[in-house]
Symmetry: C2
Subunit: 219 residues, 2 copies
């Protein structure tokens, strides 16, 4: 459809501008995507609490309505901008560009984008991010990668969340990983529970590897 | 946006045609909407198994990709049409109209529409259905009605699913119901677990009340 193509081309121009803006400031941006209630905010809040002494953070929160998540982030002492999309089903690069300017993150920062809870629409919109993390709660079922292929095809990391609930649900971890890797060959998959702490060290290891090596540490 | 308005007006015309088609045949259509993995298909399969001797069923399945759900439905002996939306994030009334013609349900049937797993986009598209059922798994968090207001505003019934998992998650049922009723005053809310059987009798009671009283039983 013509309109859709124009919309995506416009988004791509804004995404390219965001990418340059981030590179100029040595800021890393990570786009968190998932179904509603997969545990994006809980993982984010725990990460901010554990690592904010190690690296500066800022957060862009996307929701149809409410500022509940931005309040939770700010309660950790981390700056956050809330974008309410109204009837919109995803964040776009133009909205994120404005939020970046508002946040004005320090060099070396990690900016998190918590996208609107939706396994469909956010997949189509490049925000200029360095990495896309797709969360999938083990309560959602191991067939979800096959049913939402565009999202999983675009993932740089898949995080299986709420693994503390595995004893109570029918979820085959190996099958799910196999499904995800059919769509994105070799994609790393972490198994994480914010509640039990399982997998958090691996998650932090992944995050540290995304940041550029600070100039002082090179050579 | 002009394009969006034209799209919705076109959808509304198809929805009106579906409504007339269903009324002429005394067929009841119920639109099931929820996040991915909230348990729509599991509730549907159990319902078909328990009630298909009592009333004729047919199913329209919406997914971005795969026919997994239609296979599960047909395994119960119930006719199903699978619509793959590709990059699309919801079913529309035109697609559903074609599926109804393909299914050609008998008078007195209940046609289920299992929409694409998505708490955002399907809310905006009238399919000509008699009732909209919004499912929310207790693993998703009790704040979801506030964050996805358009979906809950449009609900004729809210079903809280997977209540067998309540002991293992932080979910305040009363608060969730309060949130849902702020958006849709008085909306009935059922608490259901397909696994334990909790609430299934109430769910079947609700369903029976949606069907027109057969002519033979009137007067």
């Amino acid at each position: 459809m013509r309109v859709e193509k124009d919309l995506l081309a416009k988004n791509d121009r804004h995404a390219a501008a965001n990418r340059k803006w981030l590179a100029d400031r040595e800021v890393t941006m990570v786009n968190l995507m998932a179904s509603p209630g997969a545990g994006k905010t809980s993982l984010l809040v725990q990460t901010l609490e554990d690592l904010q002494a190690e690296m500066p953070f800022a957060v862009i929160e996307g929701d149809q309505q409410t500022s509940l998540d931005a309040h939770r982030i700010r309660a950790c002492g981390v700056p956050a901008v809330q974008i309410n999309t109204g009837r919109g089903c995803h964040l776009d690069a133009h909205q994120v560009g404005h939020a970046l300017a508002d946040l004005d993150p320090a060099p070396g920062s990690v900016v998190w984008v918590e996208n609107v809870g939706n396994l469909v629409c956010p997949a189509g919109f490049d925000l200029g991010e360095h990495a896309r993390v797709v969360l999938l709660s083990v309560t959602e079922g191991d067939d979800k990668p096959l049913k939402y292929p565009h999202m999983f095809h675009s993932a740089d990391l898949v995080v299986l969340t709420k693994t503390d609930l595995l004893p109570y649900v029918d979820f085959d971890v190996d099958r799910c990983i196999d499904h995800a890797r059919r769509l994105r060959p070799g994609v790393p998959v972490l198994q994480v529970s914010v509640k039990s702490g399982e997998g958090m060290a691996q998650w932090y290891g992944w995050l540290r590897a995304q940041r550029p090596v600070p100039a002082a540490e090179v050579g």
